[in-house]
């Protein structure tokens, strides 16, 4: 795709907005429609578009396999440890109320962090799936 000037320019223009929109859906998830799942997919779509136009290798320079794998596990760990935090602070697992002195704020903070974990894992998984198929060679 290296010769298509229009595609290259448009992609370069679009990618930051796609990533920004992904972050908007992520962080707006606790007020309106959205959340970690959708945001993760949108965020990953930005990288997939970039990889399709500029080549998988250049996309993988930014996000090598190791980082993606750490992202997959790291997101789950964020989720699990926020849940454990509630447990350590004396409430049931995944009860976010004790995360702040005001119960409602605690709930807000908890769901915010949990969705961050979800978003990280979903984005990493989507990109890993894409990169795995894109770099797959017949043996």
């Amino acid at each position: 795709m290296k010769d298509y000037l229009v595609l290259r320019v448009i992609t370069k223009l679009l990618v930051p907005f796609i990533l920004l929109f992904g972050l908007y859906v992520q962080f707006h998830g606790d007020f309106g429609p959205g959340g970690g799942f959708q945001a993760g997919v949108i965020f990953a779509a930005g990288f997939v578009l970039y990889a399709m136009v500029f080549g998988v290798a250049s996309a993988q320079r930014i996000l090598p396999e190791g980082i993606l794998r750490a992202g997959i596990a790291g997101g789950v760990l964020i989720y699990a440890s926020v849940g454990l935090l509630g447990l350590i602070l004396g409430e049931n697992y995944l009860n976010y109320s004790p995360l702040s002195h005001v119960s409602k704020e605690g709930q807000h903070l908890g769901i915010f962090l949990i969705e961050l974990g979800v978003g990280t894992t979903v984005a990493s998984v989507m990109m890993t799936v894409f990169f795995t198929f894109a770099t797959w060679r017949e043996e």
């Binding site: 699990a80 454990l84 447990l87 049931n92």
Partner: protein, 493 residues
């Protein structure tokens, strides 16, 4: 403080540690984490058992949301029984995984194996403990997806097709279960299992939605159980999976699926709907009897010993379903005890085969000829596990069959008792073929000198073999808890 959170901890610890394994990456660290996680989970399950016996049913509200709105973890005698089976087998198999991996896997990706193993454990524990029908499906998918990965890690390429076959069948099964849950939700407006069972009479037992849900559930669970005509995926999956995985899955995965069937048929739908309004007892009995015989006969003609044991597993599931089909406290007790005892005997036998595979690189019956002279301890363990599988007195297998025969006689169906004994005789045939080859035949000419299997493989195998004998003599725990569970299941209807 931690004691109150035990129901959550037994599933969170393996889940968190699975993610941790991926981050650590180093093989030894991942192994240590996996080992500690399974042991912690087992310790937690044992503490839960004590609490359930002393205090009765434990309910845990996830996130502090009360049921039926939030997800409830609900631990009664049957739940904790399954937790003990899964985490107990998991703890014995985990140290075994370390050495048997060397031959069978790419070493630099071993941490991913431990991660998948812990996820599978977490999923099976989750199914056994949750009180929420949809949550049950989610955990079932966690365990299924990770078990497809584990099976595909097998030694040769046939493992991939076996895993794919299991994936297709398992996905159909899981989809049927989720359809059933959806229909139940439509009919009752609730996802909490206890709540559904209370609301079902209001929805009406002649409601076609409910009847369709029942049908979907039984077929879906039947696929996951490998109930006789739906068992095609099981022999390939267990044969081509790595030995460690065969042992773990054979001992736990089908048991948890039987639990799903028991829980839904008896607790959610209730005895009255499942057996009085719908005529399901007879089909269960017929399928159970077919399962006891046909796969056993097929097992007699197999050359690969792993495949012999896999077919034998399908046959053993017949005994569990037979107990279910009797619809009595005695029958259910026999079923539930057999969940435990069969986990012990199949776990032991598959671990022994792992020892043999480690040394001679094959589980083919001809390659195993004369092996007992070179690996006496390993083959002695095989004989021990085999005795239990046949059901010789003083072994766990005898206890299962004893209670099953008692339950059958209680109904006055003596011909079923004859069938149970006859099918046990077939087990003697297929196990004797292996023992005859290993003890009395000359080793093949090209077989090089092999030594006894390393201790970290042999010790877990022997622990399970000795457990077979222990629970064949002292049945106060295994039968005692099963009886409480059976009474609770029958009483719920």
């Amino acid at each position: 403080m931690l004691k109150a959170h035990l129901p959550a901890l037994v599933i969170i610890i393996p889940m968190t540690c699975a993610a941790l394994c991926v981050l650590l990456r180093r093989k030894d660290w991942a192994f240590t984490v996996a080992l500690l996680a399974t042991w912690a989970s087992f310790a937690g399950s044992c503490l839960l058992l004590v609490r359930v016996i002393n205090e009765g049913v434990i309910s845990y509200e996830m996130g502090g949301w009360p049921p039926p709105f939030g997800i409830e973890l609900r631990v009664d005698a049957l739940n904790v029984y399954l937790l003990i089976i899964v985490s107990g087998i998991g703890s014995v198999v985990a140290p075994y995984a370390r050495n048997s991996l060397l031959l069978e896997y790419v070493e630099d990706r071993a941490y991913l194996f431990y991660s998948a193993y812990l996820l599978c454990l977490c999923g099976l524990m989750g199914v056994s403990i949750t009180g929420d029908a949809f949550n049950l499906f989610v955990f079932l998918e966690i365990s299924s997806l990770s078990s497809y990965v584990l099976i595909a890690l097998g030694f040769d390429r046939r493992a991939l097709t076996a895993a794919y076959q299991y994936l297709v069948m398992g996905t159909i099964g899981a989809t049927f279960i989720v359809i059933a849950i959806g229909l139940l939700y439509q009919a009752t407006g609730s996802l909490n299992m206890v709540d559904i069972s209370k609301r079902l009479p209001e929805a009406g037992y002649d409601n076609t939605t409910v009847i369709a849900a029942f049908a979907f559930l039984v077929v879906g669970a039947g696929l996951k159980i490998a109930l006789f005509p739906l068992h095609q995926w099981l022999p390939n999956a267990y044969t081509h999976a790595p030995s460690t995985v065969s042992a773990f899955l054979a001992a736990t995965a089908t048991k948890v699926s039987v639990y799903i069937l028991l829980r839904f048929v008896f607790t959610v739908f209730g005895v009255r709907f499942s057996f009085e309004i719908l005529p399901t007892a007879t089909p269960f009995l017929i399928l159970a009897i077919l399962a006891m015989f046909l796969p056993s006969i097929v097992a007699c003609f197999q050359k690969n010993v792993k495949r012999v044991l896999a077919y034998s597993s399908v046959a053993q599931i017949g005994y569990m379903i037979l107990g279910l089909g009797l619809v009595s406290v005695a029958g259910l007790t026999a079923s539930i005890v057999h969940l435990f005892n069969h986990a012990l005997m199949k776990g032991a036998l598959f671990l022994v085969l792992g020892c043999i595979f480690y040394r001679i690189g094959s589980c083919h019956i001809d390659r195993m000829a004369g092996i007992a002279r070179q690996m006496p301890w390993t083959m002695a363990a095989f004989v021990g596990g085999g005795l239990s599988l046949i059901g010789i007195p003083l072994t766990a297998g005898f206890i299962s069959k004893w209670y099953l025969i008692l339950a059958v006689l209680e109904k006055g169906w003596w011909y079923l008792a004859v069938l149970i004994v006859t099918s046990s005789l077939i087990a003697i045939i297929y196990l004797w073929r292996v023992i005859e080859a290993a003890y009395f035949r000359e080793p093949p000419d090209d077989l090089k000198e092999v030594s006894e299997a390393p201790l970290n493989l042999l010790v877990p195998a022997w622990i399970l073999v000795l457990a077979n004998f222990y629970f064949g003599i002292d049945t106060s725990i295994s039968v005692g808890v099963a009886e409480i569970a059976a009474k609770a299941l029958m009483g719920a209807g």
